[in-house]
């Protein structure tokens, strides 16, 4: 059972974008950062700003995660500026569709990313994770990521 990174195709990108726009909006509301009534629109704007030319947006690399070269089990998106002083890439999005979670595929996907990133000359990976997503935080810790920055908030 192998997880492979395969360049995201146009049709795959369309369904991924619909899914992740909704998902990101829900997570931002859960984090308390956005109000429910604003979230969907704000989320759409974020992805439009980040990927103005969709899959063709320079320095952005989007993959579908495929199981045994057949089933799409998730997605992975990084941004890698060639001139970054530390050859650092940022993981903008990474996830597995519901039916494929809890089977160890996430670790496999991150291992495959390490290899792909090295082959692209990348020497450092960074990412954002919502503080409430303990599962993801544990996964990233187990795969060698360390916290560098934390955002906190409180209601008055």
């Amino acid at each position: 059972m192998t997880i492979m990174l395969t360049p995201m195709q146009t049709e795959e990108f369309r369904s991924y974008l619909t899914y992740t726009t909704k998902h990101y909006a829900e997570e931002k509301v859960k984090a308390g950062t956005w109000l429910p009534e604003d979230a969907q629109l704000l989320s759409k704007q974020v992805f439009t700003d980040l990927l103005p030319r969709g899959l063709e947006t320079p320095h952005h690399h989007l993959w579908s995660l495929k199981l045994n070269e057949k089933d799409i089990v998730g997605w992975l998106w990084i941004h890698a500026e060639p001139e970054h002083p530390q050859q650092e890439a940022f993981i903008y999005d990474f996830g597995l569709y519901e039916p494929y979670r809890g089977k160890g595929y996430a670790k496999q996907a991150l291992a495959a990313l390490d290899q792909a990133a090295r082959s692209m000359g990348i020497r450092k990976l960074s990412l954002h994770v919502f503080a409430h997503n303990q599962t993801a935080r544990k996964l990233y810790e187990q795969t060698g990521f360390q916290e560098t920055d934390v955002v906190m908030s409180k209601k008055l």
Copy 2:
């Protein structure tokens, strides 16, 4: 022994800016985000971008923290957009000068901020803290802040 927020004066701002530019550069290097050789210049740019008109920059509020209306023991800087959908302000910088740490003044300052912020119509406070700054993270947790977002990174 009372800590008071007093509007930062021009002369105070100058010495604060020198101090915090250097301090921020060191922290970004410690977090691994900037390289030592780039840090001072990058830090200077951050503060210029955030405060293009210094103390007069709209919606930015900077205070010197004074002990018994005399000694300047630290600084506090928030940004509060009047139209923010959640009446949220962001604490851009907060700290105590070395000789005044470990005396409970930070908690007093944050309590004073809560009051000042409420009086300005602010209903939520957010902040960034470097993950390696455990003292600050503990202080913020003790004063009611909760983590919302985490940035992580790893070398390949």
